[in-house]
Symmetry: C2
Subunit: 433 residues, 2 copies
């Protein structure tokens, strides 16, 4: 197992096998810039570039200025072959006594100038998101929710196993981990279940998802063939698709969720590159329906999902410690991201660099593995004990952290946290200035 | 009635009472830039600015460089009071023997440099659209479509008169008038109505809508009070929300339309400023439901809708002339754009400058006034005669033009055309390189 000359704490999300990319500022920077996370530090790629850190990698030389941008979009647009080279190069810079040891390991001045404690950086939304699409391909979740609404016999709609169901989300309200989430006002049904009232949501929920960023555009009218879809996937983040269940139940017919979802969607700050996840491929949920040709995997020997441990941590207001309320896994999906891309574009919809695709809530098959409180509490019909207090849905002051990680040979590839705390609704629905 | 020194053809959409803004290129320009349309000419605002055309308007002086951008977003962000001044100033430049006659009327050199024939310019998408939201507030349309799906008793969902129903659309596939529209492939049900097949849409349709652009942002967690919503509205365009009805019918449960709508949405090229429409206010469809406080108009003496004549022109392939297949009006809406904005943001969803809101299909109450072929042909159960040929839905080569205009004192305020022609689906679903 390769070791770094850096002191990477045991259990760090950001071991040598990860090297995720993000956007940071910190004391001394005037503008947001690209960085990678390694152990409990980040490497400022602007400073690293300025001091010839990339001199061992000719291919990136024409593009070094792209690290000095406030999003990763331009770097993403360079394409997967170059992402792979940059990540491999940085691995070789970080590995102990590696081929590029003179860049950092043996260069105290540059170490001091370019490495910054993770705890002292502010992370920002890593990508400019043109459009955000949320799928619904966590089959257990779709089934669980369907049972609550329509009973087990009709839980899944007839289309469910034939296409990756998805809808257009709201790009402008995607926020980075740590951003507080204000409880939304909206229309909900009164206790008589018939009369709408104007009220803060009483059934505020989480959704445990994976997100994927697009790094290669397709053009209007030009579908992405499934065999080329991997080329369009930059990397992955955790996604909490906060949901106001009572607003959703009243508004969603006939055109789908709207205000129930568009008040905030939180993503983790570090983009785990698609290449980093390759060693963790695994099988997903078996689909027994005959697939349409555009959805058939081009190479059936490539396993479609990733074996990512997923966890929902909830710290109720006033409780000292957080508790894990769900343990799930990235394998619990019916459709892969390449299938989502192929379906999204089959009619010619253009996807741009920076577009975000969500998987939909990832629930496992068993109790304790459901990715939303709606499922955990049976639609709010029972409470769950969280560190000594009872919860059906989120209360003001509650803090939620999603975590995700893969493990191999004792090293951990993690996503960093996807955190958000619930703020009380505005009094009377009017924002304070 | 004010007259221009310019020769504005009778019946021109772009009379003195209009002065809409757009983005153009033409022979001799290297970059897209802002322009206004007047009669059968456009005024290049970059050239006009360079040669001191705006010297009579001090307020715009610090911002003249914003006309030299490829979208109107920065100009829009200056806010409605300044839009109003610029439009009024340009009116006074164009009016015969007006206060600023020395700028153009008496300046042959600048006339020649800055005025370009409308027919010789290429128009571009006028705004960078961050997010696109499509509402569904054309009540006659919602009812007509509901009858087809659920019968007259349950045609409208219970929420319909309580909130402006809407969904998130796809910003990346909004295109400017004139862009061809490729017939989408997708999943549709076979003639057995049960088995999905992979096929080009057989039920390609139009939707006659109005679109509104946002010119002032609100921030995450900060609703727009209805009394301030007008400040956020930059201007209006025509919108054809092309729809694949067979793809929609199969995919839309439970999360709403997706690929049925995201292959293209066409807008007219010229943004009619909100101020220009003020004289054409009129009543909309009466809503007898008690409105929640955040949706109650701040000033009930202000009529909520605009008296805009709307028309759908269809030219079937191989037929020499187009025929009007629908005549509707902008008054046939249940909710106003300020109500849509207030509802969209009630939970804190942030809207950005350039965001586009669609009204939903605007159908009138009578035969001949429906804004979609789905309604005109009773869900495809009968044909409509268009210039001697029969149509249920759009055929390859068919060309659709939406038009919209107001009239006062013999002058016309029009939107220009919103045009698109249907291209045949790709053979086998694969785009030609």
């Amino acid at each position: 197992m390769a070791q770094s000359w850096l002191d990477i704490p045991a259990g760090s999300d950001f071991s040598l096998i990860n090297i995720p990319f993000g956007i940071v500022t910190y004391s001394g920077t005037s503008t947001p810039r690209a960085a990678v996370a390694i152990g409990d530090q980040v490497l400022d790629l602007v400073v690293f570039s300025e001091f010839d850190g990339f001199d061992g990698l000719a291919d990136i030389q024409p593009y070094l200025h792209l690290f000095d941008e406030p999003t990763l979009n331009s770097f993403a647009a360079l394409g997967r072959p170059l992402h792979k080279k940059v990540r491999a190069y940085l691995h070789d810079v970080f590995v102990k006594d590696g081929p590029f040891r003179e860049r950092l390991q043996d260069n105290a001045q540059l170490r001091s100038a370019s490495l910054v404690p993770l705890a002292s950086v502010q992370t920002h939304l890593p990508m400019h998101i043109g459009d955000y699409t949320d799928f619904y391909v966590g089959k257990h979740h779709a089934f669980n929710v369907g049972v609550l609404f329509r009973g087990p016999a009709n839980a899944l709609q007839p289309n469910y196993t034939h296409l990756p169901v998805g809808y257009h989300g709201r790009a402008s309200s995607v926020v980075v981990s740590g951003t507080p989430v204000r409880r939304p006002w909206g229309q909900i049904l009164d206790t008589d279940k018939k009369t709408p009232i104007y009220h803060p949501s009483k059934r505020l929920d989480i959704e445990l998802e994976l997100g994927a960023f697009v790094c290669k555009p397709n053009y209007l009218g030009s579908p992405i063939p499934i065999g080329k879809a991997e080329d369009h996937l930059f990397g992955y983040v955790l996604l909490n698709d906060w949901s106001a269940r009572d607003i959703q139940a009243w508004e969603y017919v006939p055109l789908g969720p709207f205000n129930a979802k568009n008040f905030a969607s939180t993503i983790s700050a570090w983009v785990v590159l698609a290449d980093a996840l390759e060693p963790f491929r695994t099988d997903g949920i078996q689909n027994t329906s005959e697939l349409q040709p555009y959805l058939k995997p081009a190479d059936s020997s490539v396993k479609p999902m990733f074996d990512i441990n997923l966890e929902v941590d909830l710290k109720p207001k006033g409780v000292a410690a957080s508790s894990v309320v769900s343990r799930s896994n990235g394998r619990h999906l019916l459709w892969s991201f390449p299938q989502m891309l192929a379906h999204h574009t089959v009619g010619g919809c253009p996807l741009n660099v920076g577009d975000l695709l969500g998987s939909g809530t990832i629930s496992g098959p068993d109790d304790g593995t459901q990715g939303s409180l709606l499922e955990i509490t049976g639609g709010g019909s029972k409470t769950v004990n969280v560190g000594g207090v009872e919860r059906k849905f989120l209360e003001d002051g509650d803090e939620v952290v999603l975590r995700g990680w893969c493990e191999a040979d004792g090293q951990r590839l993690g996503f960093g946290e996807c955190r958000g705390q619930i703020l009380a609704a505005w009094a009377n629905g009017v924002a304070e200035e």
